[in-house]
């Protein structure tokens, strides 16, 4: 091997190492190891000082699945997924179909509908906490206008989850709409023109042509929606903080209140592992089955 070639090879491998090591180190230290450590800690009772030494086996998990509040938080997460999939996403698709064509004002509507998505969850939660406030809020004002006693939507067990669904809908339908619009705009003009020549109306075109073509996009948005719903936290904190009487926890707010706040590193990690297993199982099955072709 001549020296020029040798130098080139040396330069290649030194570049490789220098380019990849920083990302690899940070990723391993702050993503991969913590996930593995969470699995390990979840078998201990530990306050985070010294080494974990009080091995408790599966006790943390057993306690978790007997705990009513955790089961409720798990259910809440799945209700949110169900509502997202069966109400929010179809609604977003409907709006996307309306404004993906070049109708008057399409840009204006796109901008407005997307706007809530870029707002911080905390701010969204605070705005709606005000709107739902039974004394000062907008909902109260509407009730008062009709001479009725205003409800305290986020302070009452029966309505708190509904209040949360509305906020989630308000904040997130815009991103799904935008994803669908991006998909719809990639449909070739010829296909749509052919459909028009054949006399297909807008509803037939949407149902028979547009939706089947953007199916991969829809599958992606379903996927993002599920994983997003499972990790819901920020928006709940300013709105209900998991209350009233622990009715509106998600798994992550449960983890925060019962694991982090109480410095229970073992128990908290067990909650984290359950969240991980659910996300991971869904992600893998989804990619193996529905998204395989995409």
């Amino acid at each position: 091997m001549n020296s020029a070639k040798y130098n080139a090879l040396l330069s290649k491998y030194s570049t490789l190492v220098i380019f990849i090591i920083p990302a690899l180190t940070i990723f391993t230290l702050f993503v991969v190891l913590p996930i593995i450590e969470a699995a390990y800690y979840s078998f201990y009772r530990w306050d985070g000082y010294g080494d974990p030494n009080k091995y408790v086996g599966l006790k943390n998990y057993k306690y978790l699945f007997k705990n009513k509040t955790f089961i409720l938080s798990l259910k809440n997460n799945f209700y949110i997924i169900a509502i997202s999939l069966f109400i929010q996403l179809p609604f977003a698709l409907l709006v996307a179909l309306m404004i993906s064509d070049k109708i008057k004002g399409a840009n204006f509507f796109r901008t407005v509908f997307f706007l809530p998505y870029i707002l911080a969850e905390i701010v969204t939660g605070l705005i709606w906490a005000y709107i739902y406030d039974g004394n000062y809020g907008m909902v109260a004002a509407i009730w008062n206008f009709f001479g009725a006693d205003p409800p305290h939507m986020i302070a009452e067990k029966e309505t708190a989850m509904i209040a949360l669904y509305i906020v989630i809908f308000w904040k997130y339908f815009g991103i799904h709409m935008m994803i669908y619009i991006a998909g719809l705009q990639n449909i070739s003009k010829e296909v749509l023109e052919a459909a028009r020549v054949d006399g297909a109306g807008p509803i037939t075109t949407a149902w028979r042509i547009k939706i089947p073509i953007i199916l991969p996009t829809i599958r992606l948005s379903v996927f993002l929606s599920i994983l997003g719903a499972l990790q819901l936290f920020d928006i709940i904190m300013p709105l209900t903080g998991g209350g009233p009487s622990n009715q509106t926890h998600s798994m992550v707010t449960y983890l925060y209140y019962f694991g982090v706040m109480r410095m229970k590193f073992g128990f908290g990690s067990a909650i984290g592992v359950v969240i991980f297993l659910i996300c991971f199982t869904i992600a893998i099955t989804y990619q193996r089955t529905l998204m395989r072709k995409d």
Partner: protein
């Protein structure tokens, strides 16, 4: 005739929906200008009397600016380093053949399915044991780590589509890999850099859970932490809270309207290109 009829209802629907999106934002901004009594009797209308005190007292509050500045630091630090580290790594995956490259790439990709919540307790311990609690790195490093996987995928996809002739020609001229990265790859990648930047800027700016776990001294609060503490102090003094909310709302909306093209392309394109 039929089509006019339908489009009439469609526009009615769209304007109603736009109203539902706008009204919460409008009542917040207007609410910041009201007295608490005014808010109680007149929550939908314009302020009976415009009170600017809630806004001005925040604007002269050093803490308000400190929290904003901290958030700028977190967002800028995270975004800059994610772009640099992810693009370097993606460059290797896109242009170099080596044993284990597929394995390493999949290793990073795995990170996409890791929920952040699972990692928080061990992450807190790691940051504590590294002695980073109480520094900006307690927020920046984990944010970088969780931003890398997606950024690497986006960069790699983009780099692979660059014409290979460019690469070959540069090598004949004796260009090294690192020279090529700095002279050609980076300057030619502005669209994907913009996408990655938007995703990480917005994500870091709005992040709440991570700073909540990592930061316990007020001097390092990000603005979401600051606003939650403020909310805790004033509880039902809504005009004060709404003024704070609006002061964070207005720059976000202006920023969004000014850079809308990039932001929408970044956030949706980012999702779709996956």
């Amino acid at each position: 005739m039929f089509s006019n009829f339908r489009s009439y209802y469609m526009y009615l629907f769209l304007f109603l929906l736009a109203g539902i999106i706008f009204i919460p934002l409008y009542v917040s901004i207007a609410g910041g200008f009201k007295t608490i009594g005014d808010l109680r009797t007149n929550s939908l209308g314009l302020p009976t009397e415009w009170i600017v005190g809630n806004y001005t007292s925040l604007l002269v509050d050093n803490k308000f600016w400190l929290f904003t500045w901290n958030s700028v630091l977190y967002a800028a630090g995270t975004t800059f380093l994610v772009i640099l580290l992810a693009s370097m790594t993606a460059f290797v995956f896109a242009h170099m053949k080596f044993v284990g490259s597929r394995f390493l790439f999949n290793y990073f990709i795995l990170g996409l399915t890791f929920p952040f919540a699972t990692a928080i307790l061990p992450l807190f311990l790691r940051v504590r044991d590294l002695g980073l609690l109480g520094s900006v790195w307690a927020v920046i490093l984990p944010q970088i780590a969780f931003g890398l996987a997606f950024a690497i995928i986006l960069f790699r996809g983009f780099f692979r589509q660059m014409p290979s002739e460019l690469f070959d020609a540069a090598f004949v001229d004796g260009c090294t890999y690192s020279q090529f990265y700095f002279k050609f790859t980076l300057p030619l990648s502005t669209p994907i850099i913009a996408t990655v930047a938007v995703i990480n800027l917005v994500g870091s700016w709005n992040n709440y859970l991570l700073p909540l776990i990592m930061i316990n001294s007020e001097s390092l609060y990000s603005w979401p932490l600051g606003i939650m503490v403020f909310r805790g102090e004033y509880i039902t003094d809504w005009p004060k809270i709404l003024a704070f909310v609006s002061l964070t709302l207005i720059p976000a909306v202006v920023f969004f309207l000014a850079l809308q093209r990039f932001i929408v392309a970044g956030l949706t394109g980012g999702a779709v290109k996956e």
